[in-house]
């Protein structure tokens, strides 16, 4: 029986005997995974407090099973269930537009590193053979549109972040992953950062020794207003994360150099950065 609190590793392979179940509470989401002889069942619900930072899990759990009507339920039917279930924290299934709490101005020639966090999804798989059972967000972010007009662009998720400049001020939440974004202003003007689109589907999840989750470091070079920004997704998390180990690969084939519209200025339809 495994129990943990704080920033422990709630993911990975968990052994469950027949008719046993595991219980996880990660941030605002609480979920149970139950094993029967012929099926796996995943039941989950989201609490009202979107900023909850609770982390507790037990597998197998010795508490009471949830009632069938609680939350949302998925079932996986099999001829015979194996004894291991795998949980993997994965990146969101769409790009995420990060809105810093306050507008940030970066003069020409300057560079800085922003630490932003994005919500995680949980992938639940059976082991031997590996089969995807269900995938769900630990915190369902709002939808948003990123593009010059409502006719052109891309549907993304939106999240607000403090966008810390000092890594020591970063608050790590178990349901979010942190990305270090290095922004270099090579244009002739001061740039204003109101929102930033991260191509999280091209990024991986890494775990530091203390259980905190990071992605690869990202570098954005801004050359001129209205120009597409060169974005480079690194191969490893930043050095400040310390030694890390890969937890989940990218959803899409990794593309190291992406020419993307990464920045948004004032108002939809503006190409200014």
């Amino acid at each position: 029986m495994s129990t943990a609190s704080g920033s422990a590793r709630w993911w990975g392979d968990h052994a469950l005997g027949p008719d046993e179940f595991g219980h996880w509470r990660v941030g605002p989401t609480e979920f149970w995974i139950m094993r029967s002889r012929l099926e796996w069942r995943c039941q989950r619900r989201v609490g009202a407090d979107a900023e909850a930072t609770a982390l507790a899990w037990q597998a197998p759990a010795d508490g009471e099973r949830p009632e069938a009507a609680v939350g949302q339920t998925d079932r996986l039917g099999l001829r015979a269930t194996g004894d291991t279930i795998r949980l993997t924290p994965v990146m969101a299934d769409r790009p995420v537009v990060v809105h810093p709490e306050a507008r940030l101005h970066l003069p020409r020639g300057e560079e800085l590193v922003l630490y932003v966090s994005t919500p995680l999804w949980v992938r639940v798989e059976t082991v031997d053979p590996v089969r995807l059972f269900v995938e769900f967000p630990l915190l369902r972010p709002s939808d948003t549109w990123f593009g010059p007009t409502t006719a052109q662009g891309e549907l993304c998720y939106a999240t607000r972040t403090a966008a810390r400049l000092n890594v020591e001020n970063v608050i790590h939440r178990p349901y979010r992953v942190v990305t270090a974004v290095r922004i270099v202003n090579r244009s002739e003007e001061t740039m204003t950062i109101e929102k930033l689109k991260l191509p999280v589907v091209n990024m991986s999840v890494f775990a530091a020794a203390d259980g905190r989750l990071w992605t690869e470091a990202v570098t954005l070079e801004h050359t001129a207003p209205g120009a597409q920004t060169g974005m480079e997704v690194g191969r490893q998390p930043p050095e400040v994360a310390g030694p890390t180990a890969p937890v989940a690969p990218t959803r899409l084939r990794p593309s190291r150099n992406l020419l993307v519209w990464a920045f948004g200025g004032i108002g939809l339809g503006s190409d200014d950065v």
Partner: protein, 287 residues
């Protein structure tokens, strides 16, 4: 062979003619099957590389082209001289031309629709008073399936002359909710409540951001409009959820959505009219 000659004699044909007719039928049946198979194969090959509409058009083009060749080959095999037929067709064309003006107009309109592509198969469109999903764009008409599962055939000529609204052309769409609040309501508070409802709903886009407009000073209420954007596939769900969420939020904030009402004044210089409230089926005194 003797059996065939007997049958030929019964229908009044010579042996050679009967063989020709039989061969023509065989060509027709085999050709029809071959045309269906080939058209289906071409459609399967295109699926995934083209839109549903293009696949449908190519399939029909392949099928009818092959079928035309098969019919001509069958007629030729049956002994009919195509030259005579084509000559007669020329005479008929003039007569048919006068009779088929509407069909010709639909045909030409259909070609324009195919080229202009105001909508494609799968789009949800509103044409006149009809709203539905486009099932096919054919040469003479467009077929729609309404939301209550009715099959509607809309002539192309009608569509070309009508205003067509494509509800799913763009990936995001705005939903406008009209809400009337009582005149004594704090408008800033009402606005904040409505915007918070939109922000709490994850289907409501953060950008473009939701907005609240004061539409005007209505007869019984201040007319507000909450405008929220969402992905087109979520529009119906947002529309249903937002109405309920707004009502709950306004109730919780103590903001009244007034019924239509009238205030009666007898005049500035007169006393207010007395009103007696009768509780129960008590009839007022007569006279």
């Amino acid at each position: 062979m003797n059996r065939m000659q007997e049958i030929a004699a019964k229908v009044g044909l010579s042996g050679g003619q009967f063989a020709g007719v039989v061969a023509a039928l065989v060509i027709l049946v085999a050709g029809w099957i071959a045309a269906r198979l080939l058209a289906g194969a071409v459609a399967r090959a295109l699926r995934g590389h083209s839109t549903d509409q293009t696949v449908m058009l190519v399939r029909k083009l392949v099928f009818y082209s092959l079928l035309s060749l098969v019919v001509m080959a069958a007629l030729n095999q049956a002994g009919l001289r195509l030259g005579v037929l084509l000559g007669a067709a020329g005479v008929l064309t003039v007569a048919l031309g006068f009779a088929s003006q509407t069909s010709a107009s639909n045909l030409v309109s259909g070609l324009f629709l195919i080229v202009e592509q105001p909508f494609v198969v799968g789009d949800v469109v509103r044409i006149e008073d009809m709203t539905g999903t486009v099932l096919s764009v054919d040469l003479l008409s467009v077929k729609l399936r309404t939301f209550d599962n009715l099959y509607v055939r809309m002539p192309n000529e009608t569509i070309i002359k009508s205003k067509v609204t494509n509800l799913t052309h763009y990936p995001v769409r705005r939903f406008d909710l009209q809400v009337g609040v009582a005149y004594h309501t704090d408008l800033a508070q009402a606005r904040a409540v409505l915007l918070e409802v939109a922000e709490r709903n994850p289907l409501c886009l953060i950008n473009p951001e939701p907005q609240v407009f004061l539409q005007g000073f209505g007869e019984s209420a201040l007319d507000l409009q909450l405008s929220a954007w969402t992905a087109r596939e979520n529009w119906v769900k947002l529309r249903n959820d937002l109405v309920i969420e707004v009502k709950l939020a306004l109730d919780e904030a103590g903001i009244e959505i007034p019924f239509p009402h009238r205030t009666l004044y007898a005049g500035a210089q007169t006393a207010p009219m007395p009103v007696r409230i009768v509780d129960g089926p008590e009839a007022p005194p007569q006279g």
